[in-house]
């Protein structure tokens, strides 16, 4: 039972990160490799503000602001000049950005892991099982964010504009949607989600290092791909599935060293059977 709750809460962190990937992919048609590293920068922002002020609220707000701005800046500087260029070029640039953020963090803060304690939550007992409260909080807040995001995309004007841009950029532009602004807003939202992911991830591991974001980033991307990239419910399902698989594998002693291999193996299998992921739509390629 506690394994499942842990899996769900890890899974919802993955789902949050995967949402960032999937929104950017749906709208800008590019893989934002630097997304995981935005989480890492968010974690360092939390670390710095906790040391300066000691107040978790200030730290969290700062992290959100820093990540959002960073997302917009990255989009403007690195990705905007390449709009319309080949996908390979954009992908390589994104890898460059990810590498850049990692090395900047290492130069400033060092390669060592730095401890961060935002706030400590105890455990609760439900009858026989003991559950960690932070896992529950993560689960609930993530669920709220996901519902909020879905409503935002469905009901607000900006959200509908996003859907329009992801369906057909040129047609959206003709309908009076400012495509550049929408892409910037998408990056801002994705990075803001990354900041939340940083908070919850730190609640679980309570230390930050320059490579903090790369593994969860890759795994969350895996989750987004499993669910069908570009689809918001797909990202949630994929994230939670991956989190459950990871925690279940870790709880079995014989399998635990091979967790990474199993997760990525499942990704490859799913892609072989359904190349667009579980909920992805198939796009027919036209000449």
């Amino acid at each position: 039972m506690s394994t499942i709750i842990d899996g769900l809460s890890l899974g919802s962190i993955y789902a949050l990160i995967a949402l960032g990937y999937t929104m950017v992919y749906g709208i800008a048609k590019m893989l934002n490799f630097a997304h995981g590293d935005i989480i890492m920068i968010g974690a360092y922002a939390l670390f710095t503000m906790m040391n300066l002020t000691g107040s978790p609220i200030v730290a969290i707000i700062t992290a959100i602001v820093v990540c959002t701005l960073l997302g917009i800046v990255i989009e403007k500087v690195a990705y905007k000049p390449l709009r319309g260029a080949s996908p390979l070029a954009v992908l390589i640039t994104a890898i460059g950005v990810s590498y850049l953020l990692q090395s900047v963090a290492q130069i400033i803060y060092g390669a060592k892991a730095r401890p961060v304690t935002l706030f400590s939550l105890g455990t609760v007992k439900f009858g026989e099982v003991t559950l960690s409260l932070s896992a529950l909080v993560t689960l609930i807040v993530c669920a709220v964010i996901m519902v909020g995001l879905t409503l935002f995309v469905k009901c607000t004007k900006i959200g509908r504009a996003m859907v329009a841009v992801s369906e057909d950029k040129a047609a959206a532009q003709l309908m009076g949607v400012n495509v550049n602004n929408i892409i910037s807003i998408t990056f801002a939202i994705g990075s803001c989600l990354a900041a939340f992911a940083a908070v919850f991830y730190l609640l679980q591991i309570s230390a930050t290092s320059p490579t903090l974001g790369s593994m969860p980033g890759i795994k969350a991307f895996t989750a987004a791909v499993i669910g069908g990239i570009g689809s918001i419910p797909g990202a949630m399902i994929g994230g939670i599935l991956l989190g459950l698989i990871e925690k279940l594998c870790q709880s079995v002693t014989a399998l635990s060293p091979y967790t990474t291999a199993i997760e990525f193996g499942i990704l490859i299998l799913i892609l072989l059977v359904k190349p667009t992921g579980l909920l992805g739509r198939k796009r027919r390629e036209k000449v």
Binding site: G96, S103, I107, P257, I268
Partner: protein
């Protein structure tokens, strides 16, 4: 024109220059090594250069010629290094000659990596671009994870190998030569043109009757084979072979070499692999601790600047004026103006030469009814000069 005349004309230099560079380096350093003029550290550096060149040139085949992004090259190298060196260790008990053991273990490592290449190539048939990149990345991590946990390979301590010694780079350079002969002839052949056709437009290539499945698998297997060989070279240079070396960052380092040298440019890959390895070698001794990250910072910047410069639509007109190719074109233009008859004959003769045929024609251009734009493409090979 005879075959030799055709070869003599102008890409011959481009084609032979790689053999000249590598062959000269091989002979020069071998002689120096036998005389004893090479210090130990330099010979290690040469070994590093040799396996870096093998890795970057073989990755260039996938990224530059086939046009698929592979982020798992270090994974192939890892498989080759662990398995090749493991069998090398067993063989060395039965075979006395160290060189023979090295060659056999390189073959084993290469073949094992090639099998892995086949396995990765299979999803490559159904997936494209970003999806394929993530699958190759995932694959690299799977290999690393398995090598870390399989009991024969020393677990987290790494596989301890017998190092070959200071003469290893001679073998390394010989492997580069063999690889270049295979690869350059492949690229100039009908198969190579099929591969670049797939890169430029897969659907059009399929419509032309090119067996896309076969060529994609072939390229992945070929490239993985040499990555495996490079892995065995690495394993004979460094002991213990440690899984953490083959992380996804190393795949990216190889990618930086390819991008910096120019995608689809073999000479460029050789030069940039050499420069980056030398820079690494110097920087790792100069920068210690956290400052070592400056090296990565520089890589990241190089990667971004080179890619944005080469691909940004807004910068295309700037690039057309100032890139090396443009300068070269202008120079040729002047030469042509001086002696028009000679060049007219030359161009007529090698109009079948593949490097002159514009491969980057967008599908719209081919299908468009706009006669003028089609004319421009056809004329390029026929007329002595456009103006």
């Amino acid at each position: 024109m005879t075959y030799f005349g055709y070869v003599k004309n102008d890409f011959k230099f481009k084609h032979i220059v790689n053999y000249v560079i590598v062959g000269a380096a091989l002979i020069l350093f071998t002689v120096l090594q036998l005389v004893g003029a090479i210090p130990r550290s330099t010979s290690y550096l040469l070994t590093q250069i040799s396996y870096s060149i093998i890795l970057s040139v073989s990755l260039n085949l996938v990224v530059g010629f086939l046009g698929e992004l592979s982020l798992g090259h270090a994974g192939f190298m890892c498989a080759g290094a662990y398995i090749g060196c493991y069998f090398g260790g067993i063989l060395s008990e039965y075979i006395g000659s160290k060189l023979l053991v090295l060659i056999i273990s390189m073959l084993i490592g290469g073949i094992v990596a090639a099998v892995f290449g086949l396995i990765v190539g299979l999803p490559a048939l159904r997936l494209k671009g970003d999806y394929l990149a993530i699958v190759t990345l995932a694959f690299g991590e799977i290999v690393r994870n398995l090598c870390k946990n399989v009991p024969w390979f020393g677990k987290s301590l790494g596989l301890s190998t017998k190092t070959y010694g200071v003469k290893l780079f001679i073998v390394g350079f010989a492997v580069i030569l063999i690889m270049l002969i295979l690869l350059q002839n492949l690229i100039r052949s009908k198969h190579g043109r099929a591969i670049t056709a797939i890169r430029d437009n897969e659907i059009a290539a399929r419509a032309m009757g090119i067996n896309v499945t076969y060529y994609k698998l072939f390229v992945f297997v070929f490239s993985a084979f040499f990555a495996g060989v490079a892995g065995v070279l690495y394993g004979n240079y460094a002991t213990p072979v440690l899984y953490s070396f083959f992380s996804y960052n190393y795949s990216i380092e190889i990618l930086v070499m390819v991008v910096l040298g120019g995608m689809g440019n073999i000479t460029g890959s050789i030069i940039s692999a050499t420069l980056i390895t030398i820079a690494n070698f110097i920087l790792t001794t100069k920068l210690s601790g956290d400052l070592a990250a400056i090296k990565n910072l520089v890589y990241a910047l190089i990667l971004m600047v080179v890619v944005i410069f080469n691909n940004a639509p807004a910068l295309q007109s700037f690039k057309e004026k100032f890139s090396f190719a443009a300068l070269n074109d202008r120079l040729m233009e002047k030469k042509r103006a001086k002696n028009p008859e000679k060049f007219a004959a030359d161009i007529r003769n090698d109009s079948a030469q593949w490097s002159r045929i514009p491969t980057k024609i967008s599908m719209d251009e081919i299908l468009s009814t706009d006669v003028v734009s089609n004319e421009g493409i056809r004329d390029e090979g026929d007329k002595p000069s456009a103006k």
